[in-house]
């Protein structure tokens, strides 16, 4: 109950922010935060609950981005319709890939996931007729969002992106909540803890992992297309590169996997630190991720949230 009230208050506060905050930079930070939360929660479904460490999620991120951009550019399809086609494509490809790679375990699955993302990146780079190759695509003329005849927004300020980002982050958190408490969620956590034991209890391994990957890929594609539209430009390395996979994986790891709050905290820490150090690090902003993940693995392998929870339990125990 208390969590519910806190969440409701926080959501209301976030809804009101753009009414009081005018600075585009502040809104920009919030949007980055929402994207990081959405992406971290997306990875959490497959990496956190099922324990399948995909380092190839840039594949779904990029498919979402390219799908929305190609439809926008070719057919002038508004992105909020086009993105669902992109999500469908990402899910179909993810299921095909999952069907092949989920027989692999541990490090072999990690390697296969990287290889798949690389193959898709190279396809995007070489299939110039469809993707415009290394030159990339510019998002031009995003049509205004209309309800009936009233124009809701023409996407010229940061505020519409703010609300879209908030909606996306809340949606990804909600999906996580549903998955975590569903039968599927318990199956996935059983697989994470001991795959062989789960199998012997009759849990269909490949089916569960594929369901988790499908959900995760759909959310990642959704977040990827939003991020790409916000930035306004895509090219293969920027959306399919391994940097993206590592960023969304580490958001989850640093915060703590398999929890709802983990990716939230991971996103806050990483976005704020990266922004604070942006001027001094410039292109080397992933240094923050590297240093943090080393520190987290060595000192708090369950992530920040896991570490804090453990501390609190120990404190409660001694009292």
């Amino acid at each position: 109950m208390r969590t519910l009230i806190i969440s409701a208050v926080a959501l209301l506060a976030f809804l009101l922010v753009p009414l009081f905050v005018q600075s585009p930079y502040a809104l920009h930070i919030f949007i980055l935060l929402f994207m990081a939360v959405a992406l971290g929660e997306s990875w959490n479904v497959i990496g956190g609950y099922a324990g399948q460490y995909s380092v190839g999620h840039s594949a779904w991120y990029g498919l979402g981005a390219y799908g929305a951009f190609i439809l926008l550019q070719r057919n002038a399809t508004p992105p909020w319709f086009g993105v669902w086609v992109a999500v469908a494509v990402a899910v179909v490809v993810a299921l095909a890939v999952g069907w092949i790679t989920f027989r692999l375990r541990g490090p072999y699955f990690v390697l296969a996931s990287i290889a798949v993302a690389e193959i898709i990146r190279l396809l995007a780079l070489n299939w110039k007729d469809l993707t415009n190759g290394a030159e990339g695509i510019l998002a031009s003329d995003i049509p205004p969002l209309k309800l009936g005849e009233t124009v809701i927004t023409d996407w010229n300020s940061k505020t519409p992106y703010y609300y879209m980002g908030l909606l996306l982050a809340v949606f990804c958190i909600a999906v996580n909540l549903v998955v975590k408490r569903s039968k599927l969620g318990y199956y996935l956590q059983a697989i994470r803890e001991d795959q062989d034991a789960a199998h012997s209890l009759g849990i269909p391994l490949t089916l569960c992992k594929n369901a988790a990957l499908g959900i995760s890929a759909a959310l990642t594609a959704l977040a990827g297309s939003f991020a790409a539209l916000y930035i306004g430009f895509i090219e293969p390395q920027a959306v399919f590169g391994i940097d993206i996979s590592i960023q969304l994986l580490l958001t989850c790891i640093i915060g703590g996997i398999g929890t709802i709050t983990g990716p939230l905290f991971g996103a806050i820490v990483l976005v704020l630190l990266s922004e604070a150090l942006r001027s001094s690090l410039a292109q080397a902003h992933l240094l923050v991720y590297g240093v943090l993940v080393i520190a987290v693995i060595l000192t708090m392998p369950d992530g920040i949230v896991g570490f804090v929870v453990q501390r609190m339990r120990r404190k409660a125990g001694t009292q």
Partner: protein, 287 residues
């Protein structure tokens, strides 16, 4: 003729992939840790070579004798301070730690040297040797000869010396080796140092051939995985063979499908090997 030309070219560059792969497989064999920072160590080797050449005029191929010890120290240090702490942790956490190390190395390089592409050009950079109708680039030939020498020396070390025996014993059975009085902790440091030194050597050897920039490592890491999985995780002969095979596959597919597609072929082969024979060509099944 074109086929022979591209096969030979593939064998030559495959030697370098083998060198990086052998380093990776050595580390995996002794410690069961997959080093995702292997390519970044190659990158460090490339920069060391570049600056030795730029500032002191040391020939890139001669600089191997300096980059190898330098990278050995870096690797041993990483092992002692960081990797040693996660030897008993979950494999995922070991992977994440090495990913973190790789990120730190490449981003530090970016801070120190900017993301500019650098080129190391020597007097013989663009020369080639003709064998009948076949022309092979001179730096690539030097590169292959030195690779072969280093690999041979490594075999000799592992097969003939006591320390080499101890390393192989640790790789075969950590506990048994420890009971026989082998200091497995030191063997780990030695193995990581040697693996890094091999990456450094590879970096020195490819410095005159590739562009040098902070993110060049990622491509080498991936290729090293392909080589090692193809040969069989932990098998040094397998990695040697895998390196040459991947070099040839890349070169031949580049010739016939265009250079944009050669890496696609390499990764498709990789996935096929993972699925059909995950223990690799010469490895024992550990999956």
């Amino acid at each position: 003729m074109v086929l022979i030309q591209s096969v030979l070219g593939g064998v030559l560059i495959g030697g370098v992939y083998a060198l990086i792969g052998i380093g990776l497989t050595l580390i995996f064999g002794v410690m069961r840790v997959i080093n995702f920072a292997q390519g970044e160590l190659v990158m460090v080797g490339m920069y060391v070579t570049f600056f030795l050449f730029q500032l002191l005029g040391v020939d890139p191929f001669l600089s191997v004798v300096l980059t190898m010890p330098a990278l050995f120290l870096l690797g041993a240090l990483l092992q002692r301070t960081l990797i040693n702490q996660v030897l008993d942790a979950l494999p995922q956490n070991q992977i994440l730690l090495t990913i973190g190390i790789g990120l730190v190395l490449s981003n530090l390089a970016m801070l120190a040297f900017t993301s500019d592409y650098r080129i190391l050009s020597t007097s013989y950079s663009s020369s080639s040797v003709a064998l009948g109708a076949i022309r092979l680039s001179t730096p690539l030939i030097y590169c292959f000869l030195i690779t072969a020498a280093i690999t041979a020396a490594l075999y000799w070390f592992l097969v003939k010396t006591d320390t080499g025996h101890a390393i192989r014993a640790t790789a075969q059975d950590r506990d048994a080796a420890q009971l026989m009085g082998v200091n497995v902790r030191n063997m780990g440091i030695l193995a990581f140092g040697m693996g890094s030194a091999l990456a450094g050597a590879a970096g020195a050897l490819v410095a005159p051939i590739y562009y040098i920039y902070p993110q060049v490592g990622g491509a080498f890491t991936l290729k090293a995985f392909v080589v090692v999985v193809l040969g069989g995780m932990g098998s040094i002969i397998g990695a040697t063979l895998g390196g040459v095979l991947i070099g040839v596959a890349e070169s031949v597919s580049g010739t016939y499908f265009g250079s944009g597609w050669k890496d696609v072929c390499v990764y498709v082969i990789f996935l096929l090997v993972l699925l059909l024979k995950p223990s690799g060509l010469l490895g024992k099944s550990r999956v």
